[in-house]
Amino acid sequence: MAVVETIPGGASRRPAFIRLGGRILTVIGVAIFVSAATFFLLRVSRDPVDVVGAARGADISNPAVRATLAAELGTDRPLFVQYFDWLGNAAQGDLGVSYLRPDQEVADTIIRALPVNLELVVVSQLIALLIGIPMGLAAGARAGARLDRVLSGIASGFVSAPGFVVAIGLITLFAVRLPWFPVTASGYVGFFEDPWTNLQQILLPSLALALPMVGVYTRVLRSDVADTLQEDFILMARSKGVSTRRVLLAHALRPSSLSLIPLVALQCGALLGGSILVEQLFAFPFGLGTSLSAAAISVDIPVLLGVSTTIAVLFALVTLAADAVARSVDPRIDG
């Protein structure tokens, strides 16, 4: 049975269903690896009995109390049994309950926080790309000229400005001096509940997240565009009288974006759990970063495990999507 096909240029690639299957296996593998690493590292460093006992004010120096707690938490069983139990439950959507808030399902915490983070990721990426792509194209098209230096300088400023300063500056300017946006998102409402209020709440935090990425995207795209513009097919297009604007948008952007696509995917993944500063500064009532940070401080292992695995899976999915986009941009890329 043929499992490869030939693509123009003589290279061969596997059929789509095999590639997809491989990708899904990769996602599953990432989930297992991240959850196992998190589980065993946490369990080696801390005994849940200490965490829960301290939270309950139990006398954990008493062996009987420790044994009772261990039995209640299930930590009196071998570590591998505990992990595979968790994995089996997780596969069915049951991520357990918080050690410190037994009435709080970890899955509920994630489901509540996820829309905020997904929205922050999507809107901030849109802003970053909407600003970064034109800046990168313009700078790349005029590489070495004054415009390039100005735009590159702005990009460097965005990258190097501390996130905290950017966020406070945006709040001061666009929420206090010019009262266009609310200062905080403490009364966060979902997009489908009230789109206008939601966008007002989400724009400033997204802008705070987007500005450093604008800098990165501009610099990466500028460099690739400058190289692409030296290619023969560009010179040919220009010799045919194609306008600079069309050359940039129709001919140079596509091949120049191959570095940008995985970078966007990486930023998306990083933002999923790494937007804690913005979550806290803009007072979002919930967020994956905040949950992760709180769980890390209190060593709430089930929450840490559930949130970090979720972020890892989402990261893998975003990478998967980025690969698909990259392949559609350049079919020579093998999957």
Partner: protein, 535 residues
């Protein structure tokens, strides 16, 4: 609210050990026989108008709205505000800090001060329509006495509470206690229907307070239409239709939200932000003592048992340098254990000031005794502020000649070390609450064998002084007693205060009727008296 806490760690993150600490009733010269026949709230504003909503910016959302969770009671100012909105207590404090009747109309002790008889107001109902009568009060205290129901059980198991008739509750204790109302009448009274195992008092609280919970997620409260109190003018309380707590962790953003009017008042837990707010004439600032950062010595460790070691350590601490090592204005040097707005007047009792030469002299004496200089293990909660301050403190200790290892632990491990019976530490940094309350509550921290006595401090003189204090309410005698306690603490150098901080509330022109009588939770307003100015 009269519960005070020892927050192990620095700057109040993580409340891990609770100690009872209560405000004194200095006006009384004999054992209290309080009586009231009204249900009016004292301190109300004649200009107050009903209606509207106020939003209070707080540092963090309360972990739970269940007054039986954690160590039994609020663990943050925001939590205390929420409990104040939802529940009533037997007795409250007025603006002077004196205890005043609330659900309890009067309280009378027997001659031996071992039985307190409390008369309960009639006609009060919980928000589910059930009566808040003597049986409900007794049920609240009895339920808490069971370790299966509350970590606070050890506190209540020493008190037998009974309801001989619908308006009378008796509190029977084994040893005389003249301060029972001050220390124990601040318990949030929940509906008996929620005093069952598994009841969700966090999401579905049922109390008799001025507000009921509208939405747990957004921390919204709505007016309790059947609230039983009215103001001095007969106006039904609460004034507000709605109250909301808005968690905004960053104080700069909280100030911006207050400026913009997104919130109407806010709690501030650091000195620099209070100073910044005071510079803005549009704000009203209410500043209060915020507690004391201290170092405690583990008296079970051989090195620490040596008084000369403790004395040397005390002389190494340069509080002025410590205060300057963090944000300017955030801390003030602390030289007295009772410095933070105590209701008991103490003169003197100052801890040794920085004197490196004396410290080195004592270190030399310890070495000369032939046992060598012990290496000290200092533990502290892993928080940025603590890391900044304790590194400086460690350097000061090292300068005197001590070999010191510093372990910055996460909150859970830190609590496990201190509470879990581990003695693998010599010194620990803690934050003690502002002792504006009754110092009798400090017995949990200082009396031999008490569970919150994490230093394992034991001084028979101090034990006897606390015992003696239980039999009198005479302010002069009490001051004399606590002067002696203070002197003993300075001599023993087991609890060494380092720095004090300020906290407070800041409000804009919308928020009116802001009174923060609570001496422990100084950022907690009296929610029933809050009102919104008409714009």
């Amino acid at each position: 609210m009269i519960r005070a806490r020892v927050a192990i760690g620095v700057l109040g993150v993580g409340t891990l050990v609770s100690v009872a600490a209560c405000s004194g009733n200095n006006a009384e010269t004999s054992v209290a026989v309080k009586e009231s026949t009204t249900t009016s709230a004292k301190g109300s504003d004649p200009a107050a108008t009903p209606g509207g909503k106020l939003t209070i910016g707080v540092e963090a959302a309360p972990a739970s709205l269940d007054p039986l969770s954690g160590s039994g009671g609020a663990s943050t100012g925001a939590g205390a505000t929420a409990l104040d909105a939802l529940y009533n207590v037997l007795a409250v404090r007025d603006a002077s800090g004196a205890l005043q009747p609330s659900v309890a109309l009067s309280w009378t002790p027997n001659d031996a001060l071992t039985v307190w008889t409390v008369k309960i107001a009639t006609g009060i109902k919980f928000s589910d329509g059930t009566p808040l009568d003597a049986a409900a009060v007794a049920a609240n205290y009895t339920f808490r006495a069971d370790p299966a129901n509350c970590k606070c059980a050890s506190k209540w198991s020493k008190i037998a509470v009974a309801a001989p008739d619908p308006t009378t509750v008796t509190f029977t204790i084994a040893a005389a206690n003249a301060h029972l109302p001050e220390t124990d009448f601040n318990t949030s009274l929940v509906a008996p229907s929620t005093l069952v195992p598994g009841a969700d008092r966090d999401r579905s609280p049922i109390g008799s307070g001025p507000f009921t919970l509208a939405d747990r997620g957004s921390l919204s409260f709505k007016k309790n239409p059947n609230y039983w109190k009215s103001d001095d003018n007969g106006q039904k309380l609460p004034y507000l239709d709605e109250l909301q707590l808005a968690p905004i962790p960053d104080p700069t953003v909280r100030i911006a939200a207050l400026t913009r009017g997104e919130i109407d008042m806010m709690e501030v837990l650091d000195g620099p932000t209070l100073t910044q707010a005071q510079a803005n004439s549009a704000f009203t600032v209410d500043r209060a003592a915020g507690g004391t950062t201290a170092v405690i010595a583990n008296t079970t460790r051989p090195a620490i048992k040596n008084l000369k070691v403790r004395q040397a350590l005390s002389y190494t601490v340069d509080r002025e340098a410590l205060a300057q090592s963090y944000l300017p204005g955030a801390f003030e040097p602390a030289y007295s254990f009772f410095a933070s707005g105590s209701s008991i007047q103490i003169s003197g009792g100052e801890y040794p000031k920085y004197d490196l030469a004396k410290a080195q002299e004592l270190v030399a004496e310890v070495k000369a005794e032939g046992n060598g200089l012990p290496a000290l293990k200092l533990i502290c909660a892993k928080l940025p502020e603590a890391e900044a301050l304790i590194e400086v403190a460690k350097n000061q200790i090292t300068a005197a000649g001590f070999e010191t290892t510093l372990s910055m632990l996460d909150i859970g491990e830190f609590a496990a070390q201190l509470l879990g019976g581990s003695s693998d530490w010599d010194l620990a940094c803690v934050r003690l609450p502002a002792f504006g309350g009754d110092p009798q509550g400090l017995s949990d921290l200082l009396v031999t064998g008490q569970p919150s006595n994490i230093a394992r401090y034991s001084n028979p003189e101090v034990d006897a002084l606390f015992e003696k204090d239980r039999t009198t309410t005479d302010p002069a005698k009490r001051s004399e007693t606590y002067q002696k306690v203070s002197d003993a603490l300075v001599r023993d150098l087991v609890y060494v205060p380092l720095l004090t901080s300020s906290i407070g509330t800041v409000s804009n022109a919308n928020a009116r009727g802001v009174t923060t009588n609570d001496l422990t939770w100084a950022t907690k307003p009296n929610t029933e008296l809050l009102w919104r100015a008409k714009s």
